[in-house]
Symmetry: C2
Subunit: 364 residues, 2 copies
């Protein structure tokens, strides 16, 4: 995709909390009567531009395999963000039944369900593999269900970005003090962490980032990872590509299903929906992993300078992150329970990763 | 599961190349006529004892979700290793059509397809996340298909152990010279690597490992990871639990389908089989990840001493591994092409992991 196309769709992207939701929602159509028994036509609203790499294509893959597995008995029509409802209103549209199904990211609805943020990503949190293990085997899914049950919405993990990069900078960060006054586009908890260290997080729609970086209106921005960052052309507006993406060590993409619609499906179609989500959860991570690895090489070949946060900066970010997370979790009983569960698993997981994959990456 | 039950089923386990295949295969039954159009009953032969943690339960999960998604139109009956054919004859049984489908690990059939070994694991190779990306997005699947096409068998990734541990030792490894003369049960390429460093790899069935370790007939053994190792009771027969599992940084479990049987399925059922494999590929990794993390804590709480290979030992193992892999790959055109593709991806992936997950594990 060309940058112009990307910019045209305001605020795309996995970390695009700052996007402006300017389109009006269309009036809800009366539900069409089923063509014949056991045939279902669902609308799927998404937070992504049509066929946006990995995210939009991942949502479309879900619809495609459900249609194929059901022999056409469950057809899902995918709507890009803004086509039926604005990107940030996907949750509401599914809760209301305007659409039976949606695809987005839990932290987009933090205004409605603050604790949902934990189900996308937290700074210095779990890796993609660990997050999937916690969700599916460690009690995470039950807490997620609990968070959305009051809205009649059932969530599933349906995609993962893997670990992201730290972002694009026009100012070097050589010591903790360099963060003071840094104008950086970083939405969400990552932005709150930077605030504690004196930076000035800026919220702006995706469409304005490139120019803001180029003109010096901001010093830095995070986006996603090499695959999407390269497509967005951010390396043409910034001098340094920082690592690691401490603010998003993975990010879960979310399938939302209207519970009443799900309950109307016969058992075989319900099972197809659930397993399709699980398949697509894996496929999108494979997609991001492969293309991020390729794109990083291409960016390096084009002369992009990779920079790494110095040790004392990372240590300060880690300390501030734990404060932000503890304070954020304490705002609700549900948030406290989610963070307690996730934090305990992270501690045990860190013991295991230190003996296994960390050693592999050190020695390979 | 109790150790006795585990031992009873000779040679179970993901790394059990040394198992004795002592049962006779039953004569192939004539295919039963379909009960009515569009109903299929398949037999699934596996290399695992029934409901063996993660492996046997993972194979059963595949059968269960296919039955559910197909509304009972495709029923799969799972046979434990030895029930219909011996564990190491799963590939042959599927190729012949004795069973329509099988579950095992590619390196079990290295006598028939030597290059298949690459599709399970290689020392110091890809992580689980990277392996899935290479298989599904990086050309790995096409090479795997090519390896099995002459036998009329179609392979799919259907489970992953994640990174394993280095094994159980009654002798400390403090320097490279300590490997000389070490009697260690380690099948496959890992054993060949140790041979280069003067060790004496021993091949024995799973059923004999515990006693051999206890009596000093062997100094050490590798098995799988904390989840299965704990169930097997190996901590009761060895003093040190070594990390990392350099010999198996991940291991793919494999679904094998008789191509002619797959071709007879209508499109919806074929899609259900393919996506069920993808779902189960992810679910088993979640299962291993969660339970390995839990079991490591429990083993530590029970006083198990975790030991790490010294840096010079790991470096020597890495050098020997690359020699073994290059020599092994050079034995066939297909092997050369598989290793060239995987090795190139590993190099790029290492650049990315160094900036991302390695940093996460360092700083979290």
């Amino acid at each position: 995709m060309k940058r112009r196309e990307l910019i045209g769709a305001a605020g795309l992207g996995i970390a695009a909390l700052g996007l402006s939701a300017c389109q009006q929602e269309e009036p809800a159509a009366a539900p069409a009567p089923a063509e014949k028994p056991q045939r279902f036509n669902w609308k799927m609203v998404t937070a992504w531009p049509k066929n946006f790499p990995a995210l939009g294509t991942g949502a479309q893959r879900f619809a495609d395999i459900v249609t194929r597995m059901s022999g056409g008995r469950l057809n899902i029509k995918v709507f890009a963000g803004g086509e039926l409802v604005p990107p940030l209103e996907v949750f509401d549209a599914v809760a209301r039944g305007t659409a039976e199904i949606g695809h987005g990211a839990a932290y987009y609805w933090k205004g409605k369900v603050p604790a949902a943020t934990f189900f996308t990503t937290v700074p210095f949190g779990l890796s993609a593999q660990e997050m999937n293990a916690w969700l599916h085997k460690g009690g995470g899914q039950a807490l997620w269900d609990e968070a959305y049950a009051p809205f009649g919405v059932k969530p599933f993990a349906c995609g993962n970005s893997g670990m992201q990069m730290g972002g694009w900078f026009n100012k070097r960060i050589d010591k903790v003090e360099d963060l003071a006054g840094l104008k950086i586009r970083m939405p969400g908890l990552g932005g709150e962490v930077l605030t504690k260290l004196g930076a000035t997080p800026v919220i702006m729609p995706g469409s304005e980032i490139f120019t803001a970086l180029q003109t010096g209106a901001i010093d830095a921005t995070e986006w996603i990872g090499p695959y999407n960052d390269q497509a967005f052309g951010l390396h043409k507006a910034a001098s340094y590509y920082y690592a690691p993406g401490w603010q998003e060590p993975q990010a879960v993409l979310e399938l939302l299903i209207n519970q009443a619609a799900l309950d109307q499906l016969p058992d075989d179609l319900a099972a197809i929906v659930v397993e399709a989500a699980r398949s697509c959860n894996a496929d999108m991570l494979d997609d991001f992993t492969f293309h991020n690895i390729q794109a990083l090489q291409q960016l390096k070949n084009e002369g992009v300078e990779i920079a790494q946060y110095p040790e004392d900066v990372i240590a300060a970010l880690k300390t501030a992150s734990e404060q932000v997370l503890d304070e954020f979790a304490a705002q609700s009983d549900l948030g406290s329970r989610i963070w307690a569960s996730m934090k305990a698993f992270r501690e045990q997981a860190s013991d295991y990763s230190a003996l296994t994959e960390k050693a592999l990456y050190n020695w390979r």
